[in-house]
Symmetry: C2
Subunit: 586 residues, 2 copies
């Protein structure tokens, strides 16, 4: 096996073209072995095996600098830069992350997990090179799907302005995570169909040189192309047509299904799912919206490039024009939602917490400042969400809940969630965000009759004494557990479901400060800038004690949830101990 012997790009450069082709085959085999067992970004990596081998053969990393957009397509890059074992030996599978990571290799320049950033990063690298009067190639690899993000356009604009060596590789597999959306994709299609000769050319219109390569999975053609542009002085766009999922027929045939996921069967192309619960908060959302949209043709669901959060391809067909996927363009999703609300329809925008932060200004300036209604469904907002450092769902309380005119809700059960959804979609007074619960569905079995237009009214679930525990959203269950434990120790705690994140029930807190000695807050996110600190600030000048629990402010990476919670004192034992200690001393 050649792949095992490649310790870095320099080893690749010694090989013949035939041996390079063998490396391609070995890499693809290793890729399929690992992803079928371990899961990952399947389609994107299968599609760029040849391109990655060609890039490392022609260019001289790390002197020449590669930036991979999203960097989810860098498995082969990792194989060729000293990390092959993590793809060849099951025992080492977990030794590399799914993205580029400077801690792993000098060939990984950035930790990247969000889309559309590569061109701006490359522009900065090129400018730094020029200021230092050095010469090298800066190469950005960006997928067609990532070109829908405005930042990519800003990057192209400024690469053209700088005017020095920057090689932009558009890896066009005619697919985003799901299908592409936007006028640009008509142009990419024209360009593919005319072998790059179409009259309209988006890249040339921005003043950039342009080359098209149809044979994007042909190693020889790729090497030739890269050799031709290497060391050129001006920026250039190389538009390369690749096949997403290349070499695995099921992935080639079903590009959305095989964008990411796993493990799966190499024989049948079926995902090996552990038996999935029938009802999840995701399925509840989908079912609710399908019915609501059917009843009310002015309800419109909005999403930025991750439609599967809400609907399967078939369901998207079913709801037709009542669903809008704007491409990976979270800013547009937010601002379009503002336009929809102003236009008198009922928008529901669903977005994962780590990507919501891409729209901070649009939520503030376009939606909240304008006091427009509309519903934002914030998904995967939890320590139990995704656990890659670039995909954390633990920062949304600090960045979202302090925007004026925005009501951020934290449901704790299925019934609350559905009642909040129903209220939010139909009302026209408030911008509402709902922190969709993460974890198994809990149900009271009783319809929630709460009037959520009474803003910031908390729910006292159990009246007790001495200590009041405010369990926010996903951590309400922990509040109940603490209360149960205290009960065994002969203390009946007051248990509160705040339901609202973005403001306090000051009437209740004013009452508690007279009647209780301690308030405990539990939140599923970082502590700093969060809910508990609001409570502590409000009661800072009072005699009552306030203990706040949440996570420390850090980009935690591939963590074990239980361990991280324990490090942050978020265990039943620790909380009970601290409560008892404070009550004893008080």
């Amino acid at each position: 096996m050649l792949l095992e012997q490649i310790k870095g790009p320099q080893d690749l450069k010694q090989l013949t073209k035939e041996e390079l082709q063998q490396v391609v085959e070995e890499a693809r085999t290793a890729l399929l072995e690992k992803i079928s067992q371990y899961g990952g970004h399947n389609g994107p990596n299968l599609g760029v095996v040849e391109m990655t081998v060609a890039l490392h053969y022609v260019f001289d990393s790390p002197k020449d600098q590669f930036v991979f957009d999203v960097s989810h397509q860098t498995y082969v890059h990792k194989m060729l830069t000293g990390r092959a074992q993590a793809f060849l030996d099951q025992a080492h599978y977990n030794e590399v992350s799914g993205y580029t990571n400077p801690l792993e290799s000098e060939h990984d320049l950035f930790t990247i997990g969000h889309t559309s950033t590569s061109l701006s990063l490359a522009n900065g690298l090129a400018k730094a090179r020029d200021l230092k009067k050095e010469t090298s190639n800066v190469i950005a690899v960006i997928g067609d799907g990532s070109l829908s993000g405005g930042l990519a356009y800003e990057g192209l604009n400024n690469i053209s302005e700088l005017g020095t060596n920057t090689i932009v590789i558009v890896n066009d597999n005619d697919q985003s995570i799901a299908e592409n959306h936007g006028g640009l994709y008509k142009n990419l299609k024209e360009l593919r169909e005319t072998n790059g000769q179409a009259e309209n050319n988006f890249f040339q219109s921005l003043g950039l040189d342009y080359r098209y390569l149809e044979a994007g999975n042909d190693l020889t053609a790729l090497i030739e192309l890269f050799e031709e542009v290497k060391d050129q002085k001006e920026p250039i766009v190389l538009h390369i047509h690749t096949t997403k999922g290349k070499g695995f027929s099921y992935a080639e045939a079903n590009r959305e299904k095989f964008h990411a996921g796993g493990p799966f069967s190499l024989e049948t192309g079926e995902y090996l799912r552990s038996s999935k619960p029938i009802e999840t908060y995701s399925s509840l959302t989908t079912d609710f919206l399908l019915q609501k949209m059917n009843e009310d043709p002015t309800v419109v669901a909005v999403n930025a490039g991750t439609p599967m959060i809400l609907f399967s391809p078939e369901q998207r067909q079913q709801v037709g024009s009542q669903f809008v996927d704007v491409g990976i363009a979270e800013e547009h999703a937010a601002t379009m939602t503002a336009g929809l609300a102003k236009g008198g329809v009922k928008p529901v925008w669903a977005v994962h917490s780590p990507f919501l932060q891409r729209s901070y200004d649009q939520i503030s300036h376009d939606l909240a400042l304008n006091r427009l209604s509309g519903t934002i469904l914030v998904t995967l907002a939890s320590v139990n969400g995704m656990n890659d450092e670039s995909h954390l769902g633990i920062f949304d309380i600090p960045f979202l809940s302090h925007i004026p005119n925005l009501v951020y809700l934290a449901p704790t059960t299925k019934e609350e969630y559905l009642a909040m959804l129903e209220w939010s979609i139909d009302q026209t007074d408030q911008l509402v965000a709902i922190r969709v619960p993460v974890g198994p569905v809990t149900s009271t079995g009783e319809v929630d009759q709460t009037d959520y237009s009474q803003l910031y009214k908390n729910k006292v679930m159990q009246k007790g004494e001495k200590v009041a525990i405010l369990g926010l959203g996903n951590f309400y269950g922990l509040a109940e557990e603490v209360a149960t434990e205290l009960k065994e120790r002969q203390l009946t705690a007051t248990v509160i479901n705040p339901a609202f994140i973005s403001g306090l029930d000051t009437e209740l807190l004013d009452e508690l400060k007279e009647t209780h000695q301690l308030i405990v807050t539990l939140e599923d996110g970082i502590l700093e800038g969060g809910y508990g600190q609001m409570v502590a600030g409000y009661l800072g000048n009072e005699a009552i004690h306030v203990q706040t629990y949440g996570l420390d402010k850090a980009f935690h990476d591939r963590y074990e949830v239980a361990a991280l919670l324990a490090e942050n004192g978020l265990t039943l034992e620790n909380i009970v101990k601290n409560i008892e200690q404070t009550l004893t001393e008080a």
Copy 2:
């Protein structure tokens, strides 16, 4: 005078072409009278007088819906929609805001003050119209300068995708706030020079129909063009060449100077400045950077479309390639800064607080997550910054300071500011943001020798008893005033300059909690999610009292600073009273 008689667009429609031209002249005269006395966005409004009259003559607002990008060019729109008096009568000048405002008129759909949002808003309005099966025209007016923002591109992309009536008017006066930057502007220039016939066409490459009009200040030509496209089913881009500052020779000749400002002399074209202090925090920044950049060719200043924050046009020439204006594209500015830092140079990115929020994700994901160094100068971050509701500088502490790996500094004097700058630019361990002081320069006269690499070490400026006052940044002076007042009442307070916003000096707080009865925090921004609440959270379980002072969470509009501070308890009298009350009761 015709203008006085126009109470709404319907009155305009009754006029002859000659009378319409008279309205144009009257509007321009009124505009010049008001802006020369009152200030405002001069060039943008002078350039669109004819266009605005033509738009309201041809289209039927509010049934047809106008969205003006940034909406700083809507003075004539306001004149024609029932608000002429606010431009004709000095006594009423202050009755309209400088931006569209739904509270003023049904013809103003949105409150808008940030760039590049209009196309996405229009896309939402058009989609809402389609869902409701209504017919009307949706018209977005966007300047060439605003097209540098990625959101505008996302909007164009999705307008093309939707494929129904949306009239995008590109008001091209070949100028942003300062000069334009980016590849797009080469294309706009080609298009202007070929009467719209250039081979490359950015808009057509996105699948949009396109029309060019060279005579953008010709009323008749504009009316003809708008009548031709009114009610058409497909989206279209109307690229219209206008003259920024049209009708005022000084503004036409000096487009950057007359973008905004005032009052000025109509005779000499000079701004009537009250005598400006020689030294401001702005001049200190400029002087420092000019020297630093001269000494170190790897220091590079970055800015997004507001270069005058740092340098005059002449100074920009002087620093040459060590200054980069990326156009109005704050996301790119942040991510390019990450690339520059990784590339081994020393980037300094200067940005007004209200626009900083456009880069939340890029600061978090591209800079902070990657632990890259680099300096962000946050300007106008204060209740004393701009006071339009879309331009507030009071939210940056909550949204910026809770991002991991980011050190946010709050200097209180000239010497501190310069020492922080010096440290930040040269070090390579931290991403540093500096909240540039707002207000008159204060000076100790002594070089600040603080070692800021000792993160989160606060400065105890006066040791006292019972109460410790933490005066953050701009509000440090208030802390001193409170201490002086307490001193007169025989109480020596401890006075602390935290210097750091993004974390606490826990060692100091642990000491204070044993030795003092009360901690008071003062911060120049909203209270929620801010610095004081961090302090209160840290000390929540302790006996010591914490009083937090800051502004309420709201989009305050055109406020009087003193009144707003008083409403929020931020007066010397109130703070002293509260301190005394707590100390008496404690």
